[in-house]
Subunit: 490 residues, 2 copies
């Protein structure tokens, strides 16, 4: 029987038993990246969180349609950034057509997600590819009286919405408080109210990304794409909407308002938000300028990094924290994660070597139960990992002959460890390009270098020179240093 | 100074000197895949042909904006297939949302093109993402009087166009002949004339992919996307339009007609068409059911394949034929290509080991001239490859001490071989996972094994045993055989 899954629903602020709208099927929408910069640690967390969710749902026999969008137009940080489209701005800086910027960074994002073993979603719609669908939503909202045109732009009327719908339902904010905290911004005079947000923006003459509409040549507001695309691919009402906590307000709040008017109902039954990655307590993000890119992590090429960390180390580091906790970046924490990961993966390797006995004195069924309960409790990956380390203990204990396992139990045990480590947590054996043989190569060369040291000690200069020369002929550069000889490839 | 590039222009049916519209910049549009099936050899040829062109243009110091589309909607093989959209049909078969099919096969296409070392284009627009742009082109053509609405669909009026424009200019077909050869098809009664082609099709009720328009809820005709997207990303007039010969008629002919009316001028200055890959003389294609996928080539898992062929073997096989010749598939030809490729790549490896002399009796400048002339003569890759084999002869001859090369010439020689083999032909050393360091590892171990053999010869048994023992400690198994010692990893 399937295990019951509990999810913390931001909408109700409590853990709820998950029930899908259609039996055995799940519609999941997650806010994807704005493709105007290199993928960084802040991108890795939502991607890994909802990859974990998808993997778990699949394990629980759901068929998942996972839609994760690409924001390639119209990302206004707030309505004060009138027309300052992040992608168009980047294109200006790099003197490229905006879609060249989009193409480049979308590919980078895909490459790095793939390194992190994040599975590709089922559909990856782009905002720029769904203008017509967004225009249809705007028309529907205008027809229902909740949006107005002003000088070629169209705004959502938050005050009117709030009269008969709870604006702030997701974030717990109150319109009255928001109004008191909003100062009048330049260029906002088109709006009836400072809280109103753009559904359509008239493009300034120099704005490259623009489409015709009945209101103006312009572009959609940022919040709109998710309402239009989730409806198109998942329907008016779907199961789960996910995203980073930073998107909760105003993005998701606005999405709910738009979709509620457009479709007569709230779009998603469950809202899930992963917490932020921080550096010294501050959110890591491109707009804050304190981010470390995934490439920098994998190469170690950044001031704040003591050395390189592999993709699986980053994945494990993220999974070791519960997705709703903040996760503070630090070399020490990363190195601890790496150590833990190595211990786990070494045990997975040893698992394949275990010898069975006639009897068993391990309780693998209880272990599976504990693992499943942990991960089905709102994706509690840190508890799951702690349980898997009990599995590690069993492996090492059987290996050392201190405990016994029967053949039947071993089959069950392997199944459960494979399912949780590989399928659900999505960890994989890392053979970083050549890493396996790099290590062997290093060992063999050091064998030769040690022979050379010995030869020198024995005053066998001919032998010492021969070893150095032969290695040089093979393309190795040998450097003698205070701490012994090192080598590199030419 | 830049070399002059000659291109066979399908439009003029002759080789022409290439001149770009904007100095040092080239706008290139190539028809990409319809993503409803796994990438096969028929996809590899246009991708590699226009990759070669882009690499050459880059080598010649042009900045290239390369746009290659993804056809993800509205691919009607001919207007007889009313509404039988290939992707929607596939989705029905697989019970998926069409965009899931699109996403899956687009990723497969990307993966396999990457294995073939085909560079990603600058922009990869999707038909479904440019509905609004296509609707704008239809409106413009209707306004100019060259298209008419009929029962919610819109058709291009070929007869009217042909009165003042030469329909058939690209393919050399005559409207009169075409009309005599066209039989009336079922469901074509909406059209004024059998030659007219769809710009917009009203969607049947069960048709999933549909968008609103002033004519009907429907979808664009296949030819339209390229007119709309090339205009958007390259302008009304651009340099080169490429594609497979099978697209020449009706697809490209219709594109010219549409764009000419929309923009008042023919879209591309140069039209380039790669010829087909055949099996026993018949075109290889999904619609013909005789295709071999790239995955099948790389694994050898297909009846017609004697064994697996590597991505670079496939690339070299394609480059060994001129792009305007047909290329017949066969195991013998592939094995010959593989042999040729190995010979070339071995020589490239030897090139790095060459020892220089004070004098030179090789003429590397003449060789470069010949190479450049060949590839600038309408991408004559087979002649270029023949010239590169003269380079191989030089390498082997210098290596054998039969010819001499000066340091200056060697630098020049390396530059030219690298440029043509790696940068322009896009061949790369194939290091099947770890192969690179496997080789180094093998070399270093053999160094140790040779030292052991010497030690034995010198009756230095202690040293001989030490080497064997230390290698065994590192996990290597050493086997002494008639032909010397071999090793493997435990």
């Amino acid at each position: 029987m399937k295990n019951q899954l509990y999810i913390y629903n931001t909408l109700s602020r409590k853990k709820e038993l998950f029930k899908s709208i259609t039996p055995n099927r799940v519609g999941l929408y997650v806010c994807g990246p704005t493709v105007y910069g290199d993928p960084h640690l802040g991108h890795a967390r939502p991607a890994i969180t909802f990859d974990l969710l998808t993997r778990l749902l699949t394990y629980l026999d759901y068929k998942v349609r996972y839609v994760r969008n690409i924001t390639d137009v119209g990302h206004l940080e707030n309505d004060g950034d009138e027309g300052e489209d992040k992608i168009a701005k980047k294109a200006k800086l790099e003197e490229l057509e905006p879609m060249e910027v989009v193409h480049y960074y979308t590919e980078r994002y895909h490459d790095y997600m793939s390194k992190l073993n994040v599975k590709s979603p089922s559909i990856e719609p782009r905002a720029s590819g769904h203008i017509i669908e967004q225009i249809e939503v705007i028309k529907s909202i205008i027809n229902k009286g909740y949006a107005y045109e002003s000088n070629g732009s169209v705004y959502f009327d938050v005050k009117k919405y709030n009269q008969d719908h709870p604006y702030g339902i997701l974030s717990g904010r109150k319109v009255e408080d928001l109004m008191n905290n909003t100062r009048a911004l330049d260029g906002q005079s088109e709006k009836r109210d400072a809280l109103d947000f753009a559904l359509w923006k008239k493009a300034a003459p120099e704005h490259i990304m623009r489409w015709p509409s009945e209101w103006s040549d312009g572009f959609p507001g940022w919040h709109l794409e998710c309402s239009a695309m989730s409806k198109k691919y998942l329907g008016k009402e779907f199961d789960i909407h996910g995203g980073g906590m930073d998107l909760l307000f105003p993005h998701h709040e606005c999405e709910i308002a738009q979709s509620t008017i457009d479709n007569g109902k709230s779009p998603a039954r469950y809202w899930m938000h992963n917490n932020m990655i921080t550096i010294g307590g501050q959110k890591m993000g491109k707009s804050l300028g304190n981010f470390i890119t995934l490439e920098e992590f994998f190469t170690g090429n950044h001031d704040k990094l003591e050395r390189a960390y592999s993709p699986m180390t980053i994945r494990f580091f993220i999974l070791q924290a519960h997705y709703r906790s903040t996760l503070d970046f630090g070399n020490e924490a990363l190195q601890a994660a790496e150590k833990g990961l190595n211990k786990l993966m070494d045990a997975m390797n040893n698992l394949e070597q275990l010898v069975t006995s006639k009897e068993s004195d391990v309780d693998v069924k209880a272990l599976k139960e504990k693992c499943l309960t942990a991960i089905c409790d709102d994706l509690n990956s840190p508890i799951l990992i702690a349980n898997l380390f009990e599995g590690v203990k069993i492996i090492n204990s059987v290996l050392a002959g201190k405990q016994k396992i029967s053949e039947e139990d071993l089959v069950y045990f392997k199944d459960l460890m494979h399912a949780f480590v590989y399928d659900i947590l999505g960890l994989e054996v890392e053979t970083s390009q050549d890493a396996g043989n790099d290590e062997k190569l290093d060992e063999v060369i050091h064998l030769l270098l040690n022979m050379r040291t010995e030869a020198k000690a024995n005053k066998d200069w001919a032998m010492a020179d021969k070893i150095r020369d032969e290695l040089q002929n093979l393309g190795f550069i040998i450097k003698d240093g205070a701490e012994g000889a090192t080598w590199e490839l030419k």
